[in-house]
């Protein structure tokens, strides 16, 4: 890496000697240290350069530079002399802050408030009057009675004052009679009147929906559509009433006459009431979708971090933990997929098809969810398999050892160079061996820092320098300088001692922390192991007691894991080790499909619990208290590969149903650990390879499915074909593997 920067090293070599970092010009002692430094400090700068596209981009950039350089040469004589004098590519301009804005909200609110007050008062007045108008029993009174009562509640406008209908301008006469709005008392012609049905009036005045369906108010009209209700009488008022009933004798039994304006206000109020407590299905589903997405957003980075670290062979995280997290995230993806699909098909089966815009909304939500899955899921790095992980760990260890050696060597080299330098320097002549005595000075030197070069410490170097100067000064008999240097030396040594003490304290503290951490990690590991056992239904007898002791814990963990997913937590909880099951397998138990056949009610989720109960009954004689249905499934997967493979082959087709079997992610969660903890292979080193392969295979199947899903969505048939080909291949390999055992 350093060689790339050779030119710049040469440039600066006159000023500063040694291994300088090309980016920060920090002096580093050796090539290897420089390399380490570069990797650590500046890795972010161009480390992401992965993949061919990137390298292509770099190529392009280089080409661009070349072009610009040439252009620059060409133009130097025309306009400017130097091309590389610090201009900035517009794409690199410093981030743009938000531009100017101006809010009109205050002015807006001020104007609105005035208007709203007026509006609210009007509506409230209407509602109050309506309540009064409907509080008496109309059916038992005659028209005149009602009329006088209404008149007493609202003061009516005088007939003489209004010669024309204020709404349509028609002249009032014997045929075109005046009508009063019962709510505001104003006058209009018959054509301009509206009616508030009592049913609606009750609803508005009580402010609840129940009134709409309250029995007794209107027997003949049980219409659930609230908006339809007021329209029916209105239509009647215009056509039927004018023709059938006498114009003079109108008895408003089940409605209150009012003007357009009051009606309008009431209708808007009603709409508001309705919307207040109505939450459409799409919103409910959407909210769940969003929570899932947020969970993924929160968990994915954590997983990525883990996977990265694991793939690098580091031991900071546990492989099983990561696998668990991966599974969890994948389950969320599955849920997102299902939810968004539900949103997509919302209302499609209704008689009245939803508005095209609503459909478009549903489509877009689904599309966004798909994009989300594509982007995040495809970016989910796979984990190394167990064996691979061991290899990686080994490799890393080796690398570390090598690096330490390199550093040692480097320090040796540095020392050598130094002594050479000093030899070359005639003034120093006698005092060649510098580092020796200084070590004694460094009283606080700790064994832990043994790998570090002693010359690393700048203070030590400085001390060395001053000592040699002192020597020289003494030789030259310059007492004043000697005194000054001695003073300097003392200060430096004090400082160094203090530094060493601090370091010692720090190191011991860190050690304590580390042991603490290890302790915790061990505990954590133990717990995880337990959980894993419960989860994968470890069949080992040796662990049984142990598992039983800790069973509750493990169960809780699993519960927690699956509770979010709304999968059935009871499956895992309280399931004791089921090794005994294996000891005396019944023919039935070996095949879950058979079991399902003879009890067709069982499907997916419910199946497991019902099987549980049933089995419990059937095995009661054998003295078994509880039974874990998953044990069966696992067995079945070994035995009935063909069957499962078939259902796996096309996992996306039957995704619509909520069956666990059709669910690819679910599948993996069952299959993956099953491979890794195959009871027959346990503690069998020879079969380790097979095991790994199987694990890898399962992971591959999982990946390919994801891609297939993606390809299908994008309608790339050729890719789907290719992928399914791969999938088949994988399944075949998997079967062969299993057969070998």
């Amino acid at each position: 890496m350093a060689s790339i920067y050779q030119p710049s090293l040469e440039d600066s070599s006159e000023v500063k000697e040694g291994f300088l970092c090309p980016l920060c010009l920090k002096d580093l002692q050796s090539f290897y240290q420089l390399q380490d430094h570069f990797e650590e400090e500046h890795s972010g700068d161009n480390r992401h350069v992965s993949g061919q596209l990137k390298s292509l981009v770099q190529k392009a950039k280089r080409a661009k530079d070349k072009l610009l350089k040439r252009d620059g040469d060409e133009r130097t004589e025309s306009s400017y002399e130097s091309f590389y004098y610090g201009g900035v590519d517009p794409y690199m301009w410093e981030p743009q802050e938000l531009g100017a804005t101006r809010s009109h909200l205050d002015a807006f609110k001020k104007h609105r408030a005035a208007r709203i007050d007026h509006y609210v008062i009007e509506v409230n007045k209407c509602i109050i009057r309506l309540e009064k108008l409907t509080s008496f029993d109309r059916s038992n009174m005659d028209a005149a009675q009602i009329r006088s009562l209404e008149k007493s509640l609202v003061s009516w406008v005088n007939d003489q004052d209004v010669p024309f209908c204020p709404d349509c301008g028609a002249k009032f006469n014997i045929r075109n009679r005046r009508h009063h709005c019962r709510l505001c008392g104003s006058i209009m012609c018959r054509k301009c009147t509206d009616f508030v049905p009592l049913q609606l009036a009750y609803k508005l005045t009580t402010g609840t929906k129940e009134a709409l369906y309250a029995p007794g108010t209107l027997g003949q009209r049980g219409s659930p559509g609230a908006q339809v209700a007021p329209q029916i009488p209105r239509r009647g008022s215009i056509s039927s009433i004018s023709s059938v009933t006498s114009v003079l004798e109108e008895k408003d039994d089940d409605r209150v006459r009012c003007c357009h304006h009051c009606m309008d206000a009431l209708m808007r109020y009603q709409l508001k009431l309705e919307e207040k407590d109505h939450v459409p299905d799409i919103v409910k589903l959407y909210e769940r979708l969003r929570t899932c997405m947020e969970k993924v957003e929160a968990k994915a980075p954590e997983y990525m971090h883990m996977a990265e670290s694991l793939n690098a062979g580091e031991t900071a995280f546990n492989l099983e933990n990561a696998a668990g997290l991966r599974m969890e995230i994948q389950k969320y993806y599955e849920l997102i997929d299902v939810l968004s699909k539900k949103i997509l098909t919302l209302g499609l089966k209704d008689e009245v098809p939803p508005h095209p815009k609503a459909l478009q909304l549903q489509k877009m939500v689904r599309y966004a969810a798909t994009l989300f899955i594509q982007e995040k899921l495809l970016g989910l790095t796979s984990l190394p398999t167990k064996g691979k992980y061991e290899e990686l760990k080994e490799k890393r260890k080796e690398e570390q050892v090598k690096r330490i050696q390199q550093e040692k060597q480097a320090s040796l080299e540095a020392q050598k160079r130094r002594s050479e330098n000093e030899k070359n320097c005639p003034a120093l002549g006698v005092n060649g061996s510098v580092p020796g005595p200084r070590m004694t000075k460094a009283g606080g030197w700790l064994p832990q820092s043994g790998t570090r070069s002693e010359l690393d410490d700048p203070l030590l170097q400085q001390i060395g320098n001053i000592e040699s100067f002192l020597q020289q000064a003494r030789l030259a008999n310059r007492t004043d300088e000697v005194a000054m240097l001695e003073e300097n030396l003392r200060q430096l040594q004090d400082e160094f001692d203090a530094q060493q003490t601090r370091r010692a304290i720090r190191i011991s503290r860190k050690l304590a922390e580390e042991t603490d951490l290890q302790q915790r990690q061990i505990e954590h590991l133990e717990q995880r192991e337990l959980e894993n056992k419960v989860h994968t239904k470890m069949a080992s007898l040796d662990f049984r007691d142990n598992v039983q002791d800790e069973e509750q814990d493990g169960g809780d963990l699993v519960d927690h894991l699956s509770a979010d997913l709304e999968s059935k937590p009871t499956k895992f909880g309280n399931s004791p080790p089921v090794a005994r099951n294996r000891e005396e397998p019944t023919p039935q138990a070996r095949n879950p499909f058979d079991a399902e056949d003879f009890s067709p009610v069982e499907e997916g989720a419910t199946s497991s619990s019902s099987v549980e109960i049933k089995r419990e009954n059937s095995h009661a004689a054998n003295g078994k208290k509880e039974y874990n249905p998953f044990e069966e499934e696992e067995d079945a997967e070994d035995d009935l590969d063909a069957g499962t493979a078939k259902s796996q082959g096309n996992p996306f087709e039957d995704e619509d149903g909520d069956e666990d079997r059709g669910n690819p992610f679910k599948e993996v969660s069952d299959g993956n650990p099953a491979g890794s903890t195959n009871p027959f292979d346990e503690d069998d080193d020879a079969s380790m390879d097979d095991m790994i392969e199987e694990e890898l295979l399962l992971q591959q199947i999982d990946n390919i499915r994801a891609y297939m899903f993606d390809a299908k969505l994008n309608g790339r048939a050729d890719e789907v074909e290719l992928l399914s080909e791969n999938l088949r291949e994988l399944h075949r390999t998997l079967q062969e593997q299993k057969r070998k055992k």
């Binding site: 596209l53 400017y80 009109h104 609105r112 808007r268 877009m364 970016g379 291949e729």
Partner: protein
């Protein structure tokens, strides 16, 4: 100074402040383009914006579970539509943002319509322009002038656009304009008027050197938009036409359905971003590399994935592969079409003559070349006309001009009358009589020597020797050599220091060649940031339409000022 980000920030802010939940973006025709230039659909979907509606669309459903973000220009029609909308609200909450200054009375009218209290926000967010590149904006306005003065309806729009750029970048500039153009002066005054009127808005933190707004007129350089281009972005626009980052490929022979219209956006297409300013040859190489890479990655049908490691490699590569496949097919198609057009229309040869006409001063040579091409039956009609136009502009006053005989030649070729008329129109639009600067014959000693040396040395690339006039103007401006007599300041103050932040605006439209020149200036000049803007971004075709609208050749004036599809 990044105009793309400036608009993007506004849009992001709008979406952010509306909180979570499903949202609909309610826009008008112009704001739709403004938003679409800075945000892709998938990007905006991730911010929970699922629907995009036009405020004037009648076919909108009552969907009370959606929040509406309205981003509208403050036009009378929009305010009317909005009032109607608020009277009968279709969505639960409204966040209203105007792209420019709105009057108090209109705010009042809106407030009074909001009886149901659905409005949660009313703000002015000054994203009233099309951000093409970080340093290039357009207003998508064509037909800005009638003769030598402003089309009355356009000036207010251009003023609004330009002030919104200033506001979004938070610049309160000193203004210089081109003296020879009356339109420049009018616009400068109009902008100044707004700055004075809305002084509160323009009250930004003072910088050491105040920013500078330079207003120029297209008619000063009619040659640049007539030249064939050889850098990717400019070339695509010249030959295929870019309209709000969209390229219409429907006329490409044998085009597949999904490639009928492609989007080229430097914001999220890395290949495009890296090749925007590369010349055609380099793009060819890069495309080849891209293809090869893709081929390597593309799993072939026969190539069985034998081992698990093979398969793993495939799976690991898949996401990249998938991402690549879209880019590859798009760019391969575009570049393929470009090269087809280049060879079909003999553009290399044509361009060579164009450059010769534009950059060299050798009349006899030029006239011979032009004549030769007019006789070549394979040369496209528009290219022939273009050569004659360049000749006419270049040797307008030459003593032995052969323009009449060239026009005759065009007639003999059967070139339509409309096109023949254009030659005259272009001279009228950008001829010597009109020009304020010396576009063609440099007068001062330095330029003459420069030209002389250039002639001696020869040029490396004959197709890209032309430098737009804008480059020299800006170069002089930065060096403090731009003459006050030609480009006076508006108002008494003038800039003493070297300018730092410069906004150049070209009335009548900028070009991508000029965008490239500005890009290079930005890259090379330390401490200077330049943003280029124009009433539109021209290619030859749209420029000629603009010229025809301006000169007003009677008869066949294009109807309406809407932007016609800019395709060859």
């Amino acid at each position: 100074m990044n105009v793309t980000l400036a608009v993007k920030q506004y849009v992001s802010k709008m979406i952010e402040s509306s909180g979570s939940g499903m949202k609909v973006l309610l826009m008008d025709k112009e704001t739709t383009s403004i938003v679409s230039m800075v945000y892709t659909q998938s990007e905006i979907l991730q911010k929970e914006v699922y629907l995009f509606e036009r405020i004037d669309s009648q076919n909108r459903d009552n969907t009370k579970h959606l929040k509406a973000i309205c981003f509208l220009r403050p036009t009378k029609e929009n305010v009317q539509h909005l009032i109607q909308e608020l009277r009968r609200p279709k969505y639960s909450v409204y966040f209203i943002y105007f792209s420019n200054v709105i009057s108090k009375s209109e705010i009042k009218a809106l407030a009074e319509a909001d009886e149901q209290e659905v409005v949660a926000e009313v703000q002015e967010f000054y994203g009233d322009f099309i951000a093409v590149n970080p340093h290039l904006f357009s207003l998508n306005v064509q037909g800005v002038s009638r003769g030598r003065s402003w089309e009355p309806s356009v000036l207010p729009r251009v003023t609004q656009g330009l002030t919104s750029v200033l506001l979004s970048l938070k610049k309160c500039p000193m203004i210089r304009y081109q003296l020879s153009s009356d339109m420049s002066k009018r616009l400068a005054e109009s902008v100044k008027q707004i700055i004075t009127k809305e002084y509160e808005l323009f009250d930004f933190r003072k910088t050491e050197v105040p920013p500078l707004l330079l207003i120029l007129d297209r008619s000063d350089d009619a040659i640049t938009p007539l030249l064939n281009q050889w850098t990717y972005q400019a070339m695509v626009h010249e030959l295929l036409g870019i309209n709000n980052n969209r390229i219409d490929l429907s006329r490409v022979p044998g085009i597949s359905k999904e490639l009928r219209e492609v989007v080229l956006s430097a914001e999220n297409d890395e290949f495009y971003a890296n090749n925007l300013y590369l010349n055609f040859g380099e793009i060819g190489t890069n495309i080849k590399n891209l293809m090869e890479d893709f081929q390597k990655k593309k799993p072939k049908g026969q190539q069985k994935l034998e081992s698990i490691t093979d398969m793993k490699a495939f799976v690991d590569n898949y996401p990249q592969f998938k991402k690549m496949s879209g880019t590859v097919s798009k760019h391969v198609t575009v570049v393929g079409e470009l090269s087809r057009l280049v060879s079909e229309r003999q553009l290399m040869e044509v361009s060579e003559v164009e450059q010769e006409l534009a950059c060299q001063n050798d009349h006899s040579n030029a006239q011979q070349s032009v004549r030769r091409f007019l006789q070549n039956p394979r040369v496209n009609e528009i290219d022939a006309v273009r050569l004659v136009m360049l000749y006419a502009l270049r040797y307008e006053k030459h003593s032995s001009s052969i323009l009449p005989s060239l026009i005759e030649e065009l007639t003999r070729r059967g070139v339509s009358e409309r096109h023949r008329k254009m030659v005259q129109a272009v001279v009228e639009y950008g001829g010597k009589r009109v020009r304020g600067s010396d576009l063609i014959t440099p007068t001062d000693a330095v330029s003459i020597t420069k030209q002389f040396f250039k002639g001696l040395k020869g040029v490396e690339n004959v197709y890209t020797q032309h430098q737009p006039l804008l480059h020299d103007t800006l170069d002089q401006l930065i060096k403090g050599r731009l003459k006050d007599s030609q480009f006076p300041y508006l108002g008494p103050n003038s800039l003493r220091d070297r300018p730092q932040d410069i906004i150049v605006f070209i009335i009548g439209g900028a070009t991508y060649e000029e965008a490239l020149a500005v890009y290079n200036l930005n890259r090379t000049m330390p401490g200077v940031r330049i943003v280029l803007g124009g009433t539109t971004v021209h290619n030859t075709k749209s420029f000629l339409e603009e010229v025809m609208l301006t000169v007003g050749s009677g008869g066949d004036r294009a109807q309406g000022s809407g932007r016609p599809p800019s395709r060859r």
